[in-house]
């Protein structure tokens, strides 16, 4: 039976394709999603294709973020690049430096004559992908920001009030000691340590992660995350690791398994981790804003994003670009964005989508899901908090991972590790500056 249905579907599609292909311009989109996220993107694409008849978007998954970027680069070198390439946030400087390989979004929209208002996008999301003079280079797509997940049952079991104030790191420190006294084995774990504990820590406290406005103002940027605030934070986490309060599970989001299984009481992770926690956690949890240091001036500022944006590649026909512009516009529409935000835990990229989600009552039904939005938009981004744009950023994160591991293992103190990460990272930046010259 199944094969008969499949056969009928195949026949129907082969019969339909020649008719539509003659009239439609094909637009290729390469993305880095798999599983549920890929299905959601496919649904968006199918929706767009059904909404008009001039263009047909074809979405293809190219592996993880690094693999997708590589596939795009290799394809460009062979002259076979897609129209739209999804690039993760750390690849932004690489894409920016490749003038001639990309077509900036602001230019695309102007050429195509599509209505486009950059101010509709949330400042801290837009800022990451915008030049210092306000021109949007790529379209923000999936953006998230780190928040604090709390296992309320673990708090209760250890004799603590699960509603206790965890807004500052000082309070978290006290809570971890009490949790340990109450018999809790793992107090806290984290995902993406560089992104959460250094990049976002710096932005949230309005201190620079790197000079030249975190790299936005020029490729001659130098790392600056070995300041007193960052050292104090890493030192405290090193102490937690030594005392057995902080469990280091790996460089990516391995710690998620520990939290979702109920091993750890606290977890700092992307807001996009919400769907996974909600699906798996057999305990009562809630989402809080990322903690900050109460004694730090200017804190809390706002946190920055992670995730990916869509880059339009150079070398396509004008006709395709018009279609790309319409597709990007469709993706940014409040309905599509609100749905994406609610399905995934990624941030809504426009204020209209956030408002729509609120009106639909989603935040009331799912308490905590608006924490990330509030945290991102609580203040107008400063030079230190609009994002980070560094060349070789992926390698710099590896260097940071290595040095932080030395702190967690007790081999180095926080100051020495961060100093070393800064000087090793600066070498990478100087090499990148040479390629971008």
């Amino acid at each position: 039976m199944k094969s008969i249905v499949m056969g009928a579907v195949a026949m129907a599609t082969t019969a339909l394709v020649p008719l539509s292909a003659a009239a439609q311009t094909e637009i290729e989109l390469w993305h880095a999603f798999s599983g549920r996220l890929a299905e959601l993107v496919d649904a968006q694409v199918a929706d767009f294709n059904a909404s008009q008849s001039d263009y047909s978007v074809v979405a293809t998954s190219k592996g993880n973020y690094s693999e997708t970027l590589n596939a795009g680069i290799a394809a460009f070198r062979a002259g076979e690049q897609p129209d739209i390439l999804m690039v993760f946030e750390v690849g932004t400087a690489t894409m920016m430096a490749a003038k001639g390989a990309t077509k900036p979004v602001f230019e695309l929209m102007a050429d195509a004559g599509v209505d486009f208002d950059p101010d509709a996008y949330i400042g801290a999301v837009k800022g990451y992908y915008t030049t210092t003079d306000g021109q949007m280079l790529s379209l923000p797509f999936n953006s998230s920001t780190p928040v604090l997940y709390v296992n309320r049952d673990a708090f209760t079991k250890a004799g603590l009030d699960p509603d206790m104030d965890l807004s500052t790191w000082q309070n978290v420190d006290a809570a971890l000691s009490q949790l340990q006294d109450g018999g809790q084995d793992c107090g806290i774990t984290t995902a993406w340590q560089s992104w959460v504990q250094l990049e976002n820590l710096s932005a949230y406290h309005n201190v620079p992660f790197a000079t030249q406005e975190n790299g936005f103002a020029g490729f001659d940027t130098e790392l600056a995350f070995n300041g007193p605030l960052q050292v104090k934070h890493i030192d405290m986490m090193g102490q937690w690791a030594k005392d057995g309060k902080f469990l280091y599970a790996g460089r990516r989001n391995e710690g998620g398994a520990n939290f979702r299984a109920g091993d750890c009481a606290l977890f700092t992770e992307s807001s996009a981790g919400y769907a996974g926690v909600k699906a798996e956690a057999q305990f009562d949890f809630d989402i809080r804003a990322l903690p900050y240091y109460a004694d730090a001036e200017g804190a809390p500022q706002n946190t920055i994003i992670g995730g990916a944006s869509l880059w339009v590649m150079a070398g396509q026909t004008d006709e395709e670009y018009v279609g790309v512009a319409q597709f990007l516009n469709y993706l940014s529409s409040p309905e599509v964005q609100a749905q994406w935000h609610q399905d995934t835990g990624y941030l809504p990229i426009t204020t209209a989508a956030a408002d729509l989600t609120r009106e639909q009552g989603f935040y009331d039904e799912n308490p905590g899901t608006d924490v990330a939005v509030v945290q991102m938009t609580m203040n107008a981004p400063t030079a230190n908090s609009k994002g980070i744009r560094l060349g070789s950023f992926d390698q710099i994160r590896t260097v940071i991972d290595e040095e932080l591991e030395a702190v967690w293992a007790g081999d180095k103190d926080a100051q020495a590790a961060l100093d070393s990460a800064v000087s090793r990272g600066n070498e990478l930046l100087r090499r990148f500056e040479q390629t971008a010259r």
């Binding site: 460009f76 070198r77 599970a249 070789s392 390698q395 590896t398 090499r431």
Partner: protein, 289 residues
């Protein structure tokens, strides 16, 4: 027999020359050429830096440290994949019943791709749900390869060697089968026991195979193990498992630093070339053909 003229001999070696040229000389030449530049990833521009990439690498203590890591890793992988293989081959060689089944089972792991093998071992030693780490925990041994460099090294060595044991087993087993039974019987009649026969007769007769496997396994450890490292440790913790070939991959395909990556492959090529020359010069003298 000698050939008349030179057309036929040229034709006969042409396929080999062609294959070497297309699959070896051309890419190697490209790597050497690229190592003299700092290119931008998209191929839009290239900066001539001469030996700048090499100076940058050889002046970097973290890069130099990965030479030592590689030496430790390759030695351990070679030993761990050859010694058990020889042991298993000797035992299989003595089997009378069921030798075929035993042999087939031992060859299976070779069919598992390195990256998949990496994932398998990672699951067994996973710090949270791994069955081996759980048993180790019961014995009071705290397994945490995420932060302990020595344990991480041990894990990637085992994961890299596991599939190789099958490959080596096959060669040792074939070599053992070709050891003349008459020599062994003569020694047995003279009163030599099993281990004495093994050390003084069998092992020396195996030496061509052992030498071949030594060369091949070192090359394997140098070049083909990055899939395992990538899936298990990503080069960490700190730089405990960052071997040279993994760095080539990470800097080139993750970091987009193609100049440095090309220079590293040239260095790797030179190192392995030197090692092979040394092996043929010194170790081969001890081989009895």
């Amino acid at each position: 027999m000698t050939f008349k003229g030179w057309i036929l001999p040229l034709l006969l070696i042409a396929p080999q020359v062609l294959i070497s040229a297309v699959f070896f000389f051309y890419p190697a030449g490209q790597a050497i050429w690229q190592s003299l530049f700092i290119p931008d990833p998209f191929g839009l521009s290239m900066q001539w830096v001469g030996l700048g990439n090499f100076e940058y690498l050889l002046g970097n203590k973290y890069y130099l440290a990965s030479f030592w890591t590689t030496a430790v890793f390759s030695t351990l992988v070679t030993v761990t994949s050859m010694v058990p293989a020889l042991f298993l081959a000797v035992i299989a060689d003595r089997l009378i019943k069921g030798a075929g089944t035993y042999r087939t089972l031992l060859i299976w792991p070779y069919a598992v791709a390195p990256a998949v093998a990496g994932v398998l071992w990672l699951f067994m030693f996973n710090t949270r749900v791994g069955i081996v780490s759980w048993y180790l925990g019961l014995l009071g041994y705290d397994w945490n390869h995420v932060l302990d460099g020595t344990q991480a090294m041990g894990l990637v060595v085992v994961a890299s060697s596991w599939g190789r044991i099958s490959y080596n087993f096959l060669f040792f087993y074939a070599a053992l089968q070709s050891v003349p039974k008459s020599v062994i019987e003569a020694a047995a009649i003279d009163g030599a026991r099993f281990w004495r026969r093994f050390w003084t007769i069998v092992l020396p007769l195996l030496s061509p195979t052992t030498f071949f496997l030594l060369v091949v396994n070192i090359i394997y450890a140098f070049f083909e193990t990055f899939g395992v490292i990538h899936t298990i440790t990503g080069g960490g913790p700190q730089q405990a498992t960052t071997i040279l070939v993994y760095k080539v991959y990470a800097d080139g395909f993750v970091g987009q630093d193609l100049g440095s990556s090309a220079a590293q492959s040239v260095i790797l090529l030179v190192v392995v070339g030197l090692l092979t020359v040394l092996q043929f010069k010194f170790v081969e003298k001890r081989v009895h053909y």
